[in-house]
């Protein structure tokens, strides 16, 4: 088995590197764009306009109460049909689905972050004459962001692992590479072990970094 692992590594080394690159890229796109959407949705959810609240709540609940794999299928088949003019690639559709998914989770992260900022901060800012939006962007969000930074990084770790579901659509991530290598060598376990080690190393490292970050933020206060 060790010999097989060595053989797989030497023959398919680049597959793993590419796979890792794609996995990290997918996670990065999902989380960074998810952040933007999440922040907007969180603000909508906390606004005083009922209709915005409802739209935001419906979106988050739909995403959180259906499986990611189902959402991936949905976007994979629906997007090209809906927007044929754009001739979206499979990869783009999967990216959109991941962003759609992570946006909802990020919005919950942001919402808790915004709500964790003391009400007195809003009152102090408003009493100085700042408008509601000036208060949100200059006073509340910077503090909320800081409060949710660890949770955001955790989301990144989670999404990194969840992108493996995207391999169902052969997008070139780590799990896709597994299928490729399995097809060429008829080996199942060996590439799986290698990929498992890669996933473990990156997520474990990130989790440790988050712990360091949390400690640093705590001492900064």
């Amino acid at each position: 088995m060790l010999a097989n692992i060595q053989m797989v590594l030497s023959r398919f080394g680049m597959n793993f590197v590419n796979g890792l690159g794609t996995t990290l890229f997918l996670a990065f796109v999902a989380v960074s764009l998810g952040c933007v959407i999440g922040a907007c949705v969180a603000i909508m959810r906390l606004s005083r306009f009922r209709i915005l609240k409802i739209i935001a709540a419906v979106y988050t609940e739909i995403v959180r109460d259906t499986p990611l794999l189902l959402q991936l299928y949905f976007f994979y088949f629906m997007l090209p049909d809906m927007l044929p003019a754009l001739s979206l690639s499979d990869f783009t559709c999967i990216c959109v689905a991941l962003v759609f998914n992570s946006g909802a989770y990020m919005s919950e992260v942001f919402r808790s972050g915004i709500q964790s900022v003391d009400r007195g901060q809003t009152e102090a800012a408003r009493s100085l004459g700042l408008s509601a939006s000036q208060t949100m962007f200059r006073i509340i969000l910077p503090q909320a962001l800081r409060n949710v930074l660890p949770a955001m990084c955790n989301e990144f770790v989670t999404v990194t692992k969840e992108t493996s579901l995207a391999s169902t659509f052969f997008v070139g991530d780590l799990m896709t590479q597994h299928s490729i290598i399995k097809g060429k060598t008829y080996l199942v376990i060996e590439p799986l072990i290698i990929i498992g080690v890669i996933y473990f190393v990156i997520t474990f490292t990130m989790s440790k970094l988050i712990t360091v970050l949390e400690r640093k933020l705590a001492t900064d206060e």
């Binding site: 003391d118 901060q121 009493s127 100085l128 200059r138």
Partner: protein
């Protein structure tokens, strides 16, 4: 300081007319009519739950009145069509829990609003902030993060943050209630200094000695109305209303 206020000639700054505030089925303010004149230092005293803080917070509309009018410089700011942000720039407020912005340095806390709201240029705002810090003895904290400050220092910072907007009135909501006893004095000293310089102040306080010494007028509130008011001498030494007597007998 008490007796120098020329009541008859001072123009009115804030006039409150039949102010009501309900929280759900709870009637917190049940019809307040009151006038605050320019240069006056007024303290609001009364048992907890009497509506003092709510009344104060209505003055700059941090609480929206259920009914009634609040005239500030001749404009009814309780009206829906008013841009309250503009009026709030002229009404400084100091809170019990300081509410300093923790993600900004001391000087940024002070300059944020004047610069952002284009009341002054950045240079002017910084120069003014430095002068204010000097005035309250915090010059050496200029670039510190607020987390490094003591409670008393935070509250002095909160006061100059409000002053930086050059307000026409300062509203104090129990400014010393969250402080350790040894820090109360330094904050009261700053407020006294403001009073001496003819800043109009409305102060919700439990510091009876301070109210007696600094204020021109004391309002006693209970159950959502102003029960009795007068000069500190009259109110503290010769209270007329039985509720005032009862309250003072407990706190003095």
């Amino acid at each position: 300081m008490n007796n120098t206020f020329d009541y008859a000639h001072a123009p009115e700054l804030i006039r409150v007319e039949d102010l009501h505030k309900d929280f759900g089925s709870l009637h917190v303010l049940t019809g307040i009519t009151e006038t605050i004149r320019k240069g006056e230092v007024v303290s609001l005293i009364g048992p907890s739950g009497s509506g003092k803080s709510t009344f104060l917070r209505c003055l700059n509309l941090l609480e929206t009145p259920t009914r009634g009018h609040i005239w500030f410089n001749g404009e009814d700011i309780a009206a829906k069509s008013v841009n309250i942000d503009l009026h709030r720039q002229k009404m400084g407020m100091v809170f019990q829990h300081f509410n300093i912005f923790p993600h900004m340095s001391v000087i940024e806390n002070i300059t944020l609003a004047p610069v952002m709201l284009k009341r002054m240029s950045k240079d002017e705002a910084y120069a003014k902030a430095e002068a204010l810090l000097e005035r309250v003895g915090l010059s050496d904290k200029r670039d510190n993060k607020p987390s490094r400050l003591s409670g008393g220092q935070k509250q002095r910072l909160a006061i100059v943050r409000a002053l930086a907007m050059e307000p026409e009135v300062m509203l104090f909501d129990e400014p010393t209630s969250a402080l350790d006893p040894e820090m109360v004095g330094e904050v009261l000293e700053v407020i006294k200094d403001l009073a001496r310089n003819n800043m109009t102040c409305v102060i919700v306080t439990h510091e009876m000695g301070f109210a007696r010494e600094v204020c021109n007028r004391v309002l006693f509130m209970d159950e959502g109305v102003i029960c009795e008011q007068g000069s500190p001498h009259d109110l503290f030494d010769h209270p007329q209303n039985p509720r005032t007597k009862d309250f003072l007998s407990k706190v003095l």
